[in-house]
Amino acid sequence: MATVTRKLGSRLLHTMKLMRELEHRIENLYRQGKIVGGVFIGRGQEAISAGSAVQTLPEDVVCPSHRDLAAFLLRGLPPWMVVANYLGRKDGPTRGRDGNTHLGALPLGIISFISSMAAIVPVANGVAFSFQYRKQPNVVLCYFGDGATSRGEWHEALNFGAVFKLPIVYLCVNNQYAYSTPVSRQMAVEHITDRAQGYGIPCQRVDGNDVLAVYEAAQKAIARARKGEGPTLLECETFRMSGHSAHDQAEYVPKELFEKWKKKDPILRFEKYLLEHKVLSRRDIDELYAKVQAEVEAAVTRAEQSPYPDPGELLEGVYASAEEDHSLPMTQRTRGKRETNPCQ
């Protein structure tokens, strides 16, 4: 890594801090009983989605999971819409049909994952296939956890991606636990990269708590994909500094692991780097953090102003409506009805 510009440094730090604080606020909303469904956060894992998605071009596509909020934010999803989705409000990207970050926004190049997380991997391949089909020089970033790599869909998809040399980067967020299952009960090999190598995919293990390490590895993988040289798998090693979801106290995780990984906090590490290399001053950082707090509060205020969906809309959108214009791909469609919603 040569040098981090002030612009890039600010953007990465801002995104990671916004992800951290927004999720922290969302956890509080859960504790207040305002969020009724699951809350899945990526505390301690912010560097992975931030350091990779920051490099995408407007026509590229990301397929983030629920611990990759920075990817949603970097693609332009307004923070208030994330909160609105958690709150089940009408103006969230799913209009109350789904919760947490089970959301997508084709105009922003975000493809939704689903609860059976590995299902996103073959779907992400299809997006990459469409770039190949249209001879479009774009790439897909597909994120998933360590648990997803035990699923058949994942294995089928990795093999398919390798055979077709798809323009995709597989980003495994190895946070050591899939709900309560540690990686040692997930696989008999040591690393996710050991699994992917069997498919002929170049792999790299990356310090997932070092945003610049992620940035650098993703830069190479994206360049490979864009040149038509095929997929790369990055195993971003990190730790889930929370339970599986907000209801889970994670008593099954030895306390010392939390202590160990707390010292590797990606935000504090990057802060230190920026100060040491004089990219940003303490004052710059304090101002940036103050801005983040204001953004979070504004997001919650705006989300809470959004009404709940009307039960009369229950059956809308199971199938396409007759008046929708289907002659254009979704990404190019303008939908007069929901002009205010940048996701649809």
Binding site: V61, P93, T94, R97, D98, H102, L103, G104, A105, L106, I111, S112, I114, S115, S116, A119, V121, P122, V123, A124, N125, G126, V127, A128, F129, S130, F131, Y133, G152, E153, E156, A157, N159, F160, V163, G317, V318, Y319, A320, E324, H326, L328, P329, M330, T331, Q332, R335, C343, Q344
Partner: protein, 326 residues
């Protein structure tokens, strides 16, 4: 009008759609150089190239997922399931991903998943199934079950142009047994419109797929054998969307109804039709609604067993006589 087999009609429909819209491509196992297990795509890869007739690894999740992703980006994939039975391997992607995407985040998934279903060819437990009902029961999917060559072409074209995920279950027994006049030009059979396969006045047999021919055979025998019963046969053509009005209209007309399908009995589509008729046409009924279906059993291989499994004209005739005697 050229005479065409059922399989040729499907192939022609796909061919025409691929000519008119370069977003349409077909993906599946052994469909390229080999032309598919039933040769539906023979010669298509030479014409359209390997980018549009796409051979894949033998992994249904991988290629169904790829089709879903490509559809999200505005392409129009047709997935060939080599045998409809294999669709169970990718249930998650179809039911949890494709079917729910529009509802969850307004993302249309215009894919067609098509493949040979049905028995009668000694295919055994893994090459003979009628898996439609799982998908009928999944909101967000459409389910097409063509019986004639004319419909096979018109419905595949409608399915490809449809903005939602469509499961198109061909019946392999009909592939080369059914030959009829099929227009060489472009036409579409809209999804959700049933067809009166035989007009009659005394009793209705409501069915779809290969069982349409079993119903017609029964109707002819009943007409000839001095029963004096004039049977109406309704070919549903699509299970989702269902032409409810056509179902109710025939019940109002004849007041007696037999529900016939090759799929197994419990929670099969006949149960749904029976409930619809009971709630919306009860006053018109002169006899109990009867079902003729396969029994609740896997499709067996050996000829005497498979013959005992499949519904035949004799079963329909027996049901008709029971209904008429009520």
């Amino acid at each position: 009008m050229p005479v065409m087999t059922y399989i040729e009609a499907i192939r022609q429909g796909i061919w025409e759609e691929m000519e008119r819209d370069d977003r349409v491509f077909m993906i599946g196992e052994d469909i390229g150089a080999h032309g598919g297990a039933f040769k539906l795509s023979a010669g298509m890869q030479e014409h359209f190239g390997p980018n549009r007739i796409v051979d894949t690894p033998l992994a249904e999740n991988a290629f169904v997922g790829a089709a879903i992703g490509a559809a999200l980006m505005g392409l129009r994939p047709i997935v060939e399931m080599q045998f409809a039975d294999f669709i169970s391997t990718c249930y998650d992607l179809i039911v949890n991903y494709a079917a729910k995407a529009r509802y969850r985040w307004a993302a249309g998934v215009p894919i067609v998943i098509r493949g040979p279903s049905g028995g009668g060819v000694r295919g055994g437990p893994f090459h003979s199934n009628n898996p439609e009902i799982a998908f009928v029961h999944t909101p967000g999917l459409k389910v097409v079950v063509p019986a004639t060559a004319y419909d096979a072409k018109g419905l595949i074209k409608a399915a490809i142009r449809d903005p939602d995920p469509v499961l198109y279950f061909e019946h392999k027994l009909l592939y080369r047994r059914i030959k009829e006049d099929v227009p060489a030009e472009d036409y579409v059979v809209p999804l959700g419109q049933a067809r009166v396969a035989r007009a009659g006045t005394d009793i209705s047999v409501i069915t779809y797929g290969a069982m349409v021919y079993v119903a017609l055979e029964a109707a002819e025998k009943l007409a000839q054998e001095g029963d004096g019963v004039d049977v109406e046969v309704i070919d549903l053509r699509c299970l989702v969307p269902l032409d409810r009005e056509a179902v109710l209209a025939t019940v109002r007309k004849t007041s007696r109804v037999i529900l016939l399908h090759e799929d197994t009995r419990t929670a099969g589509f006949a149960g749904e039709l029976a409930a619809l008729i009971a709630s919306d046409a009860f006053d018109y009924l002169d006899a109990p609604v009867l079902r003729v279906t396969a029994p609740d059993c896997p499709v067996p291989y050996s000829p005497p067993l498979e013959d005992a499994f499949l519904p035949h004209a004799a079963d329909v005739i027996a049901a008709v006589r029971r209904s008429m005697a009520y």
